[in-house]
Symmetry: C2
Amino acid sequence: MKSFQFIAICLLTVITSCHSEKTLKVDPLPSWNETTSKHQIIDFVTAVTDKNHADFVAAADRVATFDNDGTLWTEKPIVQIQFAFDRVQELSKTHPEWQNDPIIKAVLNNDLNELLHFGKEGLAKVMMLSHSGMTTDEFDETVSNWIATAKHHEKNKSYNELIYQPMLEVIDYLKENDFKVFIVSGGGMDFMRPWAEKTYGIPKNQIIGSSIKVSFEHSDEKTVLNRLPELNFFDDKAAKPVAIHRYIGRKPIAAFGNSDGDLQMLQWSASNKKRNLQVYVSHTDDTREYLYGRKDPFSKLDKGMDQAIKNEWTIADMKKDWKVVYPFELISDTK
Amino acid sequence: MKSFQFIAICLLTVITSCHSEKTLKVDPLPSWNETTSKHQIIDFVTAVTDKNHADFVAAADRVATFDNDGTLWTEKPIVQIQFAFDRVQELSKTHPEWQNDPIIKAVLNNDLNELLHFGKEGLAKVMMLSHSGMTTDEFDETVSNWIATAKHHEKNKSYNELIYQPMLEVIDYLKENDFKVFIVSGGGMDFMRPWAEKTYGIPKNQIIGSSIKVSFEHSDEKTVLNRLPELNFFDDKAAKPVAIHRYIGRKPIAAFGNSDGDLQMLQWSASNKKRNLQVYVSHTDDTREYLYGRKDPFSKLDKGMDQAIKNEWTIADMKKDWKVVYPFELISDTK
């Protein structure tokens, strides 16, 4: 009898350990200090995933959207503009006729301020020269090679090492709780997709952004999509809810941004009848990252900050709320 | 000793049964006859999912795209045009001023041929009147109500009962083999998403199609997307690879269509360096469904059929290859 009891217990233990869920409570956001922001995020996820909670949301409706520049990675400088500069400098070697173009000269001098004197036209020209005139496959390869080798001038790190560890933890935490996570960025989606899928663990089809026009070409010799020097969609401000509608088809219950360009995405999410969460990352840390806010020329958080305060949205204050900023700090961390 | 051996065997059995994969072999495509088409589909899936096969494809790259009208459901009549007719007839009750418009008259007479006399302009007007001038939420509700109540005039079935059982089996078979399945349709994505997610088991963000422009409106009272009477993207022919690039970001290894409008999608998939599969559904069954092909005014399979023959693509011949066409036949089936 005893041996059968023992067998029964053994079997039960194995079956239970096979099928039971993890019950160990681990901190889902270990790089966040124990401040209000962290608790607001955890309270939200706990409520919407608890079947017995009044705010429960079915898994299919658990959609979260994240801006990229300044929300998931450092945007000083804006990485895609740095890519465009590097690319135009490279291409100019085989285009001596460009030397007399003052717009190109600004790029060759690595002088963004000089380029900005030419207004929208200047930046648009540089973006088109660097982003079009090749197939989609060729552009993919160009971006992949660049991101693998380029370094941030001040921090001497690859750009995709300059991602925010606390935000990676939020993405993972949401995914573990059956959220579908999307990037909805003003940046180019063809610029993000070659590296962002692996870097953030978000599938390519869930990485949404701005795009230029492409045209299909088919012959017996080749079948390609050619990148054309014409903007298709600029995924910023009021265009973000439009992109969310087209690409996702559901209103997010959680939205994360860092600038006025994300305000409409956060408003769209805040209009969800289900319980919802809005988070603004605030760049308050001039030691570990950068300090900018209401007056930044590229990525100001002004109207957005007013609304965040008025509506009691979550402010993720880099300096106060984050134990570390970048993943590589974890390795060198003595704690 | 003996009891410990027994315990060990018990434990091993339980552990093995916990972790082993299903080994029962079931027919993944039971509604398909044992013809070449079925075997080509199964051979393809078997090869690309077998780690030891030269044609193995990693799960992340297993992307399959399906047209909708005539590929997944019956397109006689084109369902979205029928919706537009019903909607304009409904709206005209509160718009007496429309009575004198010859385009509207054609719709009130339920006469598509008469409408087509007005060229593209006629159909475009009817589509815009029926699809715009409301918020995205209101349109979603309108479509949901319509699909729940409207019936196919000849077959007296709901339109989303007139889906193809053999194709549902292909979708499920691909999903079970870690394919990500997308619809890439000429039909409106906002017309498909309210019902297609549930009907086909494909998430809304993987349902891609044509779209009209929408605009974001935010005030203290409301936050909405308004549907505008202007085409944004017509997802047909050479636009299908463009949509695939934008919405999926990967070239499919399998593509399914039924008309020349799908040809470029199949060409795009066929240009994949990985092993790939192209399938054309051929409407050969005038008893169970409809008989049409090279000369159909809305959905001809002419150039596409030439290329399918030349390139030895798979032809799913409804009459020869399918045991049943619609799911409801299974219930009444005596077998």
